[in-house]
Assembly symmetry: D2
Homo-oligomer: 308 residues x 4
């Protein structure tokens, strides 16, 4: 089997690149300039799959990914991977910290080292670029003295930068979650430790709709591990909900929850079932196992067949 072609949010040496390498599959990585381009490359068949960030424990959902996936009709998530967030401050050649006059980084990275910067480099202006790898590249290619990048170690190394400070993230437990995207296909088989990602659009004129939506999960004993509201891009206050639910499309309880959601929502977008990165087994409450559903179905079929 030839290597799978994998798109990722580039350029080379981004966190996404690092996450992709951690997948441990034989991959042929292809960087793309932004999330939309990465996703489009999957859709058009330029690559077989792609890895993009979807959630960050400090900054929250990655809007571009959430919104492009929500709009996609022909893509699914088939896997996830998480990566601890760890930043370095890196310069072109050896520079004293006090000589740093300008910082270049990605806005999300900026947000995660803000505390460290305000203590160690107060008042130093920060310029935002499209990726932390791009920041490293920009610093490497610019001879102006006193410029520093906030980036992943891999990016500093790739670009031959000197690391002035390591582990500068404000929150040492910060993680980023990435998802593997492919064209629509059957999900990986259930493992008992799965997630299902959905985008749920409520009927506009129905207050209490979110309560009803959540009840579709709760009443079947399904936990949600993530819920994000996203604007539907129409009027203020019109939202859809991006959720990760514990369990697999093939699970009976998930099936019934999906049926219920389909009936009460304006639209339900199924974005895939896949194994959880943390491998934590799904909780199965009393009465919600596949066998419980099968037993109840058999009972109902018998009732309905009475006298027939």
């Amino acid at each position: 089997m030839p290597p799978i072609t994998y798109g990722y949010l580039g350029p080379e040496a981004t966190f996404t690149h690092q996450a992709l390498l951690s997948l441990g599959e034989i991959v042929d990585p292809v960087p793309f300039p932004d999330v939309l381009a990465t996703i489009d490359a999957v859709r058009s068949g330029v690559v077989d799959a792609a890895l993009v960030p979807i959630e960050n424990s400090v900054e929250g959902g990655v809007s571009a990914t959430l919104d492009h996936l929500a709009a996609a009709q022909d893509l699914v998530i088939t896997g996830e991977v998480t990566l601890p967030v760890a930043f370095v401050l890196a310069t072109r050649g050896e520079v004293a910290l006090t000589a740093v006059r300008a910082i270049v980084t990605h806005p999300m990275a900026d947000a995660q080292v803000r505390g460290w910067l305000s203590v160690n480099l107060p008042g130093v202006p920060v310029t935002h670029v499209g990726s932390t790898a791009g920041a490293a590249e920009a610093v490497a290619s610019d001879e102006t003295p006193g410029r520093a990048a906030v980036c992943a170690r891999i990016a500093a190394e790739t670009n031959g930068l000197t690391i002035l400070a390591d582990g500068i993230a404000d929150n040492e437990q910060a993680e980023t979650r990435f998802v593997v995207i492919t064209r629509t296909t059957a999900p990986p088989a259930p493992t008992g430790a799965d997630k299902t990602t959905l985008v749920l659009f409520q009927h506009a004129d129905h207050s209490g709709a979110l309560l009803e939506i959540l009840d579709q999960f709760a009443s079947r004993g399904i936990n949600l591990t993530r819920i994000e509201s996203r604007p539907t891009k129409t009027t203020l206050g019109s939202y859809c909900f991006s959720v990760d639910a514990e369990g697999h499309l093939a699970d009976a309880r998930m099936g019934e929850a999906l049926l219920g959601l389909r009936r009460i929502c304006k639209e339900v977008r199924y974005l895939g079932s896949y194994p959880r990165a943390d491998g934590v087994a799904n909780e199965v409450r009393v009465g919600t196992a596949n066998a419980d559903f099968a037993e109840a179905e058999a009972w109902l079929a018998a009732l309905r067949g009475l006298g027939a």
Copy 2:
């Protein structure tokens, strides 16, 4: 086709007899002395069907009927009929009201004329017998002067009694509901104005269980027209619930509610789906019609078939 043999709560000339005659079918009515005997006659095949009272707007559920049906594994309800409650006070020959010294009636009838008796015959002792028809019979066959029966007009007439007072029920809108019972068989076809009768046993150690049970109906847009708690005959505070739900076993929303109940209850006894006596069409909320369920099922099947 030969006439259907119908058992009923006798003796002749009871309200149940009167209700049975109102069915308008060609029937061969057979009186039985009590509810249990009537029900057993169906079970054993002595009669094809039976009519028994199940609910009274003043006294509430008829315990004997509710409990014997709840215990039955081989019987179903296939229809219902309601009858206004109307009592007369009747004596053997012409007697002045002031000369009435003793009243004979059924306890449930007593309860429904209590106010009238306390005003018009204060202090006159009341003896309870097994039926209002039996009360009329007892008065007719006893020469002791001053005895009066509280019974249906039909019973007074059948027994040749004189009616001293008519319309003596405290509540003029009082009604009794009767149900047709047969051995287990397919229900009559859905009419869009149906009821389904169930007995629901909760798991003993689960507080909030009733809330969960009710939610199985509410979340599918199913109204309940009757809910009665009945002791399970074990310990104090252990209940089952006898309910009438709007809709038919064949309705998709009822099917899903039954599946949910089956999974959360200790036991679900299905006692039949049948047309409502009042003919009021079942409310069908948005997203709960058979077509909505079918559309959602097709959608889910397509999702599950992806890539297969």
Copy 3:
């Protein structure tokens, strides 16, 4: 202090009498012929308090008690007591079981020995009288041979009857619960193991109302130990609910639940808070203790006082 005058559902030697004696207070017991008369004696001041049965583990709620209390505006329950149900079969003088030709008892007692009778005295007619004590008395005063009473041991002994069979109740764990009724007064102080009895009338035209009612308790972590539907005596399908809720009128969570019920129900009748007979401590869920309510109230008051 003079002895308290206690009315009870008589005559002497009933189970209620036996339960009254078990109260262990110095009482002056006064029998009354029926529940209504007993309750009225409290209302009119003829007695200080009364004991009446309210719930039986086999037959369910005692309708007369439930309905008369629901209608009362001036009475409260101040205590409860439970008693195992144990019946004997007793005759006037020594009689062989096979010679028993007629049985006299109260309908509720009949219901609880039905199984035993159908096995041991099949086909023997049963006459219903107003109490099991009355049945014993009737048998004692009637020289017709072959008559037997189903009654409490105390009633057999009081009336000089011979006990043919003991422990004939079908369910050996059967219990009856009795309540102490007084004119409206402050409840006994909270003990941490209390009950509050309420009657809740829903607005007629509001489906899902029971769900809302139950949620008022559930959302404050209050368990219900009893729920009985009772007809409102108007039209079929119009119910009120008689409930026992864990906790005391003085508990903050009960207070807030009562406020919620008052706002959503057509009517809420408070029938008293009193110590549980079984002494089981009320469950207090996280966030529902009096201290939690007090802390939240103080927080809200501070918010509302901001800048004032």
Copy 4:
């Protein structure tokens, strides 16, 4: 009274500046470079109040505002204003559209004209700066030919730019909502058309917590006009919820909802009650008016005072 000093998200000629001018009060506007600086200026007393964007109908919540407000213990929202989003494409001097080689704008503006740009300026690189006003300024001060800013009309005019295209937002109904922030103070008096903004932190280990939180509002008939999940900046999947609820801190139903939230949440941050920009009167469901709460409180107080 001297003019109120108002901070805003600058520089001059931003949408926020335009929104501030629309307030119609006599204000002394002071621009700040970012949301944090703007908010800090209020906290430190440098300005009396500030206006910052909080929500955009296309891009969703403004994370910086949501997160800084959620962290604030000493600030409240006292008002809101909404503004239609309308962008122009502007250049230094007259330039043909085909001659545009570089675009400068704010990332959120970029997101809202993405469709227009991909059709009209495909492949032209976009550089992100901190504000649309900054983009206009940057274009005005840079002589490199072919540079264009996507900005508000006010910014183009202030900087002497030429408008190449107007109304280029992809969604013509797009709006941005801004909030007025002050140091903690009493809220404006209730108007009957109010909002209350809260940040709700759930207990980490409690699945179904969001359902419980939403129920605190729903059970008191309170609609939510906005709900946003925000990461708590600890671990993946740990969220708090930023919500706007219909009604005022002084409303009884809001008070009871706040009490309930305080008892079930890890933390409740009250961020102010203020009149709605759209003036739409709050829905008041049956049983949830202040008078209903007062009536219920009086009833409960009477019950609790019984016999005292």
